[in-house]
Subunit: 241 residues, 2 copies
């Protein structure tokens, strides 16, 4: 997946030292973030394994299933870090289950193509968001998030399959372009829900002693960058936006 590195995203004038984890509020926010990423990957596994059943061939089924397995592979390291931070990883994931499950319930693909676009565009959006936030974190946490969200190989598969399908059936492009906009809308609405409920994450974004925060202008720039990258991905798939 073409995900930005933290270098492309938010840049803090002074990097957050690892010692920031001694601060209880910051630590709670890191736990929340890692747990959200971990549950996101677990549910991505479930959903991709399910969507793989829509595959037109065994080879395609195996390809999407392999993407599913890769997502789950990232969870191991996130669980270990959550343990190391002194929390039960699965208990930490609880607050994020409903919003993430809701996102998937509202965006269940109607066919194989919608499933592929969701895998590429939806996971890309989530990765963008977490990587932007990583710019506000200590290096060790930021590195972990970057590592667990970077997966280059499989996007070639999705891009190749979708662009060919649209070439063969142009009206499909119109339908999938609408689908991409809907994915963006649903993702934003669930993200807002999480932000409203998790004070720790709001505090993180606001900044603290020795930690940079985001003012409204920077927040706006962040959403602009995310929208641009979303549009880039849609363009890569050959979808008008």
């Amino acid at each position: 997946m073409t995900v930005p590195t933290p270098e492309d995203a938010l840049t803090s004038s002074a990097p957050v030292p690892d010692s920031a984890l001694a601060d209880e509020g910051y630590r709670a926010a890191v736990v929340d973030l890692l747990a959200a990423v971990a549950y996101g990957e677990i549910s991505a596994f479930e959903r991709l394994a399910e969507d793989a059943k829509l595959a037109p061939s065994l080879a395609d089924m195996v390809e999407l299933s392999t993407m599913a397995a890769a997502q789950l592979g990232h969870v191991v390291e996130l669980r270990e870090r959550l343990y190391a931070l002194g929390v039960d990883p699965f208990a930490a994931m609880e607050p994020f289950r409903t919003p993430i499950d809701e996102f998937h319930r509202h965006t269940a693909p109607a066919d194989w193509w919608e499933g592929l676009v969701k895998a590429y565009v939806g996971d890309g959006l989530a990765a963008d968001f977490y990587l932007e936030i990583a710019g506000l974190l200590d290096e060790s946490t930021a590195d972990l998030i970057t590592r667990t969200l970077t997966d280059v190989h499989h996007s070639e598969f999705v891009v190749g399959r979708v662009t060919k399908a649209i070439e063969a059936d142009p009206p499909l492009g119109g339908r999938l372009a609408l689908w991409g906009r809907r994915l963006m809308g649903e993702a934003l609405s669930q993200a807002q829900r999480v932000a409203a409920e998790r004070e720790s994450l709001l505090d993180l974004v606001a900044g603290g002693v020795g930690r940079p925060g985001l003012d409204l202008l920077e927040m706006g720039r962040m959403f602009t960058r995310m929208t641009e990258r979303h549009n880039q991905r849609m363009g890569t798939l050959g979808l008008a936006f």
Copy 2:
């Protein structure tokens, strides 16, 4: 999984040289075997990912899903070898889809516990069978089959969970013991179906120039060993047989 190594299984007095692959009949049998193992792992992935939904907790769900992902991970190497043997891996798998899918259709677990026992006992049976046959193969193919069927870590999870559950609820043990016998019966019936349809595999078992085969006595011993290992696994789970 406690799977036997080829050393425990059939031992050929003279090992089959890698050059045996020049023989068309032998090569066809190797393609069949690798394709059967590969499709077995793919369908194991599908089934475990599905059975994971029965998990009583998110942690258990992730554990079974990780077993699913591990099965799929083995497929990469099998696909590469099939390509190297000059065949389309997915076309080679076609003849094995119906019998393996039928096995899973006939043994859909009614609950989480049946799913766990199936993961341990069913996959153990399949691994035993392929590893026995590996004793009749050239070293390079035998090594590949051994590598792709050996997975020690996760059996601890199944054994731990099942033995504790039976301790807490002894009647569950009786039900799961019956279930284990049914898995054995279904596996044998589908294996016979494959053997009857794939001449290449019968030729393999019969042996050829420079390749050892099995006479009836050795065939009988092979089934005895497989039954013994099945009973061992049932015993490890705390299931009477």
